[in-house]
């Protein structure tokens, strides 16, 4: 099929984490540049391995469209002399444009009539365009880290070794860092290094395929996962899925070979978390569990960049390394249990939490106090003892050998050791779960004790770092404060902790004593918007609209579950009959009473029927609104307010608020102020965004 362009860049091994974004950027950039020239291909296919980036454009037009471009010349009044002869301005312009003076046309502009020339440019053939665009797009990829090599070539992600650039079988010539594009590539550097020529994309894939190389990472991943599942089943178990690790494995090979290995049964005495972490972190290997998912089997599966392993070298090498690693882990496990967690508490004194915020021993003491305060505020007396105990143990595993070796096991390891030492379930689970949620997909800690401990930990960190004025800016967030804040907000929201977070942050800041350089009020002023931003983000993620969140936030945050209930009520009510009227009325009221001082309301002064009716209706439901608000039944609250719609409508049609008589005017303002306060019990309705057309239709009708 004509219009096919094949590009392959061969380089030294590109880091796994950079491959996908780099490839995506290259494809996007090329597509956009081609589209801007009216040459968008029908299809863009990409692929990559650590050693090659591949891009196939199909359905490319043969050439750029011809272009006509209007070039503005002198104004007509300057183009002709009094006798009608062309002036030098005209002739000079025509000459510059390469057209005859008669060919100039007149164009009307708002500055008067001008002469203009039409310049025609013939579109270039696709090959010429690609020869210009491709090297620029390649050199322009913004890799996360670049390097130079040789006499100073680069910068690029790794040294470039070969370029295939073929348009319908013909080389599109260009060069990059001294490497000239051609039609030749090579296979696997050890198994099939001989160079070979290709003619088109199908041939390219076929030739690579005959060398077991698969350039589509998705296909490699699929093959790896499928083979691993089969192997696990053949071993009498099933694969413990690890999607991010599979992504990585697919990105570090070009031949998706599965390597299976076995380790000594004796290592199964190690906790499953330790086994899988050691295998994952050190060996990039997945584990196999028994069909019931109850325990691990003594096997591991990883990738090898080759189709098979007939001599068993790759397998025996990996097994040797795994045995050494697991022996290390078993040593740490034994040492850690010898000492016991309680005896490690004192070692926390030598572990700095932050150089200006003291040691982890100090942090542990603060966490215990803060966890107690949180339980008190929630009225969770039954959980208090466990929460304080868990808080004290929370950071102890940082002093264990296992966590020093596998930092990703922090929390989990402490939880395992606490369980083995016979700590109550709530306590060890709290330690185990303390870093949850670490990502958006993670769950929050199990149980109340874990939630209190996890919240205390995050509030302590936030108060401390904000207390030193180290507020995160832009993309810089070295202490992971955004994640900490998001975790705190999610725990409070999803764990239904009816808690004044700000008050607890204040306790957290106070517990630092004189370590902080900033005052508590200042810390809270910075922390509040920071927490609210996470809250906005999370509620937005849950499907609530921006204005619903803002309206609820504007009346203040008592606790997060309450705030969420308000947002939810608004969300449900906004389509209800009458609600739009109330929102519009709220906006109108806000406008009218904007500059007025608070006025006392005297019902006796109400004269017009419409205002009397409004007052009666309002007085009738005010109590119910207050009661619904007090019991957090915000749906009912808003429904009752919506009931005011007809009387409010009539009031604004029939009554002039700004009456001549000051007493009448002030009294009407007072009535509106009272209504305004009541309708904003759940949310500041003036924050709600109203569709303009809908609003016009409403006020017109």
């Amino acid at each position: 099929m004509p219009g096919e362009y094949l590009l392959e860049v061969r380089s030294e091994e590109i880091p796994a984490r950079m491959l996908e974004p780099g490839m995506r950027e290259l494809a996007t950039r090329l597509f956009e540049e081609l589209m801007a020239r009216g040459m968008a291909p029908r299809e863009v296919a990409t692929g990559f391995t650590p050693r090659r980036l591949t891009l196939v454009l199909s359905g490319l037009p043969e050439r750029e469209p011809d272009r006509e471009e209007q070039v503005m010349g002198p104004p007509v009044r300057a183009a002709y002399a009094a006798d009608g002869a062309p002036t030098p301005a005209l002739t000079g312009f025509a000459k510059r444009c390469g057209v005859a003076p008669e060919a100039l046309r007149r164009v009307a502009t708002d500055k008067g009539e001008y002469l203009a020339a039409v310049r025609k440019t013939a579109g270039r053939p696709a090959g010429e365009v690609l020869a210009e665009l491709v090297p620029r797009a390649l050199a322009g990829i913004s890799w996360a880290k670049t390097m130079r090599w040789g006499s100073g070539d680069g910068p690029w992600v790794r040294p470039v070794h070969g370029l295939v650039s073929l348009l319908d079988g013909a080389v599109v010539p260009f060069s990059l860092f001294g490497v000239a594009a051609g039609d030749t590539t090579a296979g696997h550097p050890i198994l099939s290094p001989a160079p070979f020529a290709v003619a088109d994309a199908a041939g390219y894939r076929r030739e690579l395929g005959s060398r077991d190389i698969e350039v589509r990472p998705g296909e490699r991943r699929r093959l790896l996962a499928e083979t691993m599942r089969q192997r696990a089943a053949a071993l009498g178990g099933r694969l413990v899925d690890d999607p991010p690790l599979l992504d990585k494995l697919a990105a570090i090979c070009e031949i998706p070979g599965v390597l299976e290995g076995r380790f000594d049964d004796a290592f199964l005495e190690l906790p499953a978390e330790v086994l899988s972490t050691s295998l994952r972190d050190h060996q990039s290997a997945l584990t196999v569990e028994d069909p019931a998912g109850a325990r691990l089997l003594p096997y591991f599966l990883t990738v090898m960049d080759r189709p098979d392993d007939p001599q068993g070298r790759a397998r025996s090498g990996n097994e040797w390394v795994v045995a050494a690693r697991l022996a290390d882990a078993r040593f740490f496990y034994g040492e850690d249990r010898k000492a016991g967690l309680a005896r490690r508490v004192e070692q926390l004194e030598r572990l700095a939490f932050h150089e200006r915020l003291g040691s982890y021993a100090e942090k542990s003491a603060r966490l215990a106090a803060l966890a107690g305060a949180i339980c008190d505020a929630l009225g969770w007396a039954a959980e208090r003892g466990d929460a304080v105990a868990a808080a004290r143990l929370l950071k102890v595993d940082l002093a264990t050998e296992m966590v020093k070796e596998f930092t990703s096991l922090q929390g989990v390891m402490g939880g395992i050791y606490a369980r083995e030492e016979g700590q109550p379930e709530a306590v060890w689970q709290a330690v185990y779960d303390q870093y949850l949620p670490a990502s958006t997909e993670d769950r929050i800690p199990r149980g109340r004790v874990g939630r209190v401990a996890g919240l205390a930990d995050r509030l302590d960190t936030l108060a401390g770092i904000f207390g030193l004025g180290l507020t995160p800016t832009g993309s810089k967030d070295p202490f992971g404060l955004r994640r900490a804040a998001q975790g705190a907000v999610r725990i409070a929201l999803e764990g239904e902790l009816a808690l004044d977070l700000e008050a607890m942050a204040k306790v957290a800041a106070t517990l630092y004593g004189d370590r902080l350089t900033r005052g508590v009020a200042q810390i809270l002023d910075d922390l509040r918007p920071f927490l609210h931003d996470r809250l906005r983000y999370l509620l937005g993620l849950a499907g609530y609209a921006y204005d619903e969140i803002e309206a609820a936030l504007a009346v203040g945050v008592r606790d997060l579950p309450d705030l969420k209930a308000r947002v939810d009520a608004l969300h449900r009510m906004r389509e209800a009959p009458g609600f739009l009227t109330v929102v519009l009325a709220a906006k109108r009221i806000a406008n009218i009473v904007k500059d007025a001082a608070e006025q006392p309301l005297d019902p006796a002064l109400l004269a017009e029927p419409a205002e009397k009716d409004l007052y009666t209706a309002f007085a009738g439901l005010r109590h119910e609104v207050e009661e619904a608000a007090a019991t957090a039944d915000y749906g009912r609250c808003l429904r009752r307010i919506a009931d005011l719609a007809p009387v409010l409508d009539r009031f604004f049609v029939e009554v002039l608020v700004m009456a001549e008589d000051p007493a009448v005017r002030q009294n009407r303002l007072a009535l509106l102020q009272a209504i305004g306060r009541t309708v904003s019990r759940t949310a500041r309705l003036t924050e709600m965004v109203v569709d303009k057309a809908e609003a016009r239709a409403k006020s017109g009708g």
């Binding site: 030294e12 091994e13 880091p15 796994a16 984490r17 650590p50 880290k145 390097m147 130079r148 090599w149 040789g150 006499s151 100073g152 790794r158 040294p159 070794h161 550097p189 050890i190 198994l191 290094p193 001989a194 570090i252 090979c253 070979g257 390597l259 060996q283 990883t302 090898m304 960049d305 080759r306 392993d309 007939p310 001599q311 070298r313 790759a314 397998r315 025996s316 090498g317 990996n318 040797w320 390394v321 795994v322 050494a324 290390d328 700095a352 150089e355």
Partner: protein, 308 residues
């Protein structure tokens, strides 16, 4: 069975044939072959350079009294520097593995991202850890900066962990069981040293004395620099670096002191690097002439089919 000594001989022969100066270890305590002036200083400036040597590398904190089968307080690195990095440097490296007896078609060799950074040398590079059948056997780095200076040309540094590599090829259960030469085990040569060095670094080293020495060496480095003596100044800086490592292993460096001490060592390394480039410039960059180093022409051309 491959011995440690075989490994050294074969790697030396291979890299000598590639035009490397076969240098000897630096006669000072260093943490890595990179700190040898024939790497750290030679990678600076425009002069081409190829060198290979074994460097005993001391990491006092890694000492395990000779008890741990996988860890050593002092190990041997085989260090290669090619400047400028030739276009086929990766192929050369793969050939060097064949030269030590590996039949690579039977193995799984992968290059996984691992960037190198030495804050105390103001140096960083980009590269990989080379994994052979799942075991890290080599650190492969393209130096980008040293002593705080951008490098041009770029050097490729290849560092083989000799004990690890030998142990792995022999599938030995312990470093101490590998054969230095047939009939003599590594443990027989080095175990006493590992034990005694561990005891010294962890228990016996006199902290105030070491601190005094560190201060003194720092002053001495300054005096040397003032006298225009770059190499002696750099040696003093290396001594400071080692003294810092010993103090650290001894547990005598607090978190806050650590930052300060590292900065002092870094400042010295950076000063030496700058002074070195100036001193070479004054000498007219003697190695710039073609053929000054065997096999180095300064050009980075691919040798067609070299590794095929």
């Amino acid at each position: 069975m491959q011995t440690l000594q075989d490994m050294i001989l074969r790697l030396s022969a291979f890299w000598a044939a590639e035009g490397c100066v076969l240098q000897q270890p630096l006669d000072l305590e260093v943490g890595a072959g990179t700190m040898h002036p024939d790497t750290f200083l030679r990678v600076l400036g425009p002069e081409p350079w190829r060198v290979a040597y074994v460097q005993p590398s001391r990491r006092p904190a890694d000492g395990r009294y000779g008890d741990n089968p996988f860890r050593l307080g002092k190990h041997l690195q085989f260090q290669v520097v090619l400047k400028p990095s030739p276009h086929d440097v990766q192929q050369l490296y793969v050939q060097s593995l064949a030269a030590i007896g590996l039949h690579l078609a039977d193995h799984d060799l992968r290059f996984e991202e691992d960037n190198w950074e030495a804050p105390t040398l103001g140096a960083w590079g980009v590269g990989w850890q080379v994994m052979l059948d799942g075991m890290e056997i080599t650190q492969f780095t393209y130096f980008q900066q040293a002593g705080g200076l951008e490098l041009k040309p770029i050097s490729a540094e290849i560092t083989y962990g000799l004990e690890r590599l030998t142990m792995f090829l022999a599938q030995s259960r312990s470093l101490y069981d590998i054969e230095w030469v047939e009939g003599v085990k590594y443990g027989q040569v080095r175990k006493q040293e590992e034990y005694e060095l561990s005891r010294y670094y962890f228990e016996v080293a006199d902290v105030p004395f070491l601190q005094q020495q560190l201060d003194g060496m720092e002053r001495e480095a300054g005096r040397c620099l003032a006298a225009g003596l770059v190499l002696p100044a750099y040696e003093c800086a290396l001594k400071c670096s080692h003294l810092f490592n010993v103090l650290d292993a001894r547990g005598a460096v607090s978190v806050t002191e650590r930052v300060g001490l590292m900065k002092r060592v870094r400042d010295l390394a950076v000063a030496c690097a700058r002074a070195y480039v100036e001193s070479r410039e004054r000498l007219g960059f003697p190695l710039l002439g073609a053929g000054a180093v065997a096999g180095v022409s300064g050009a980075a051309e691919e040798v067609p089919g070299h590794a095929r």
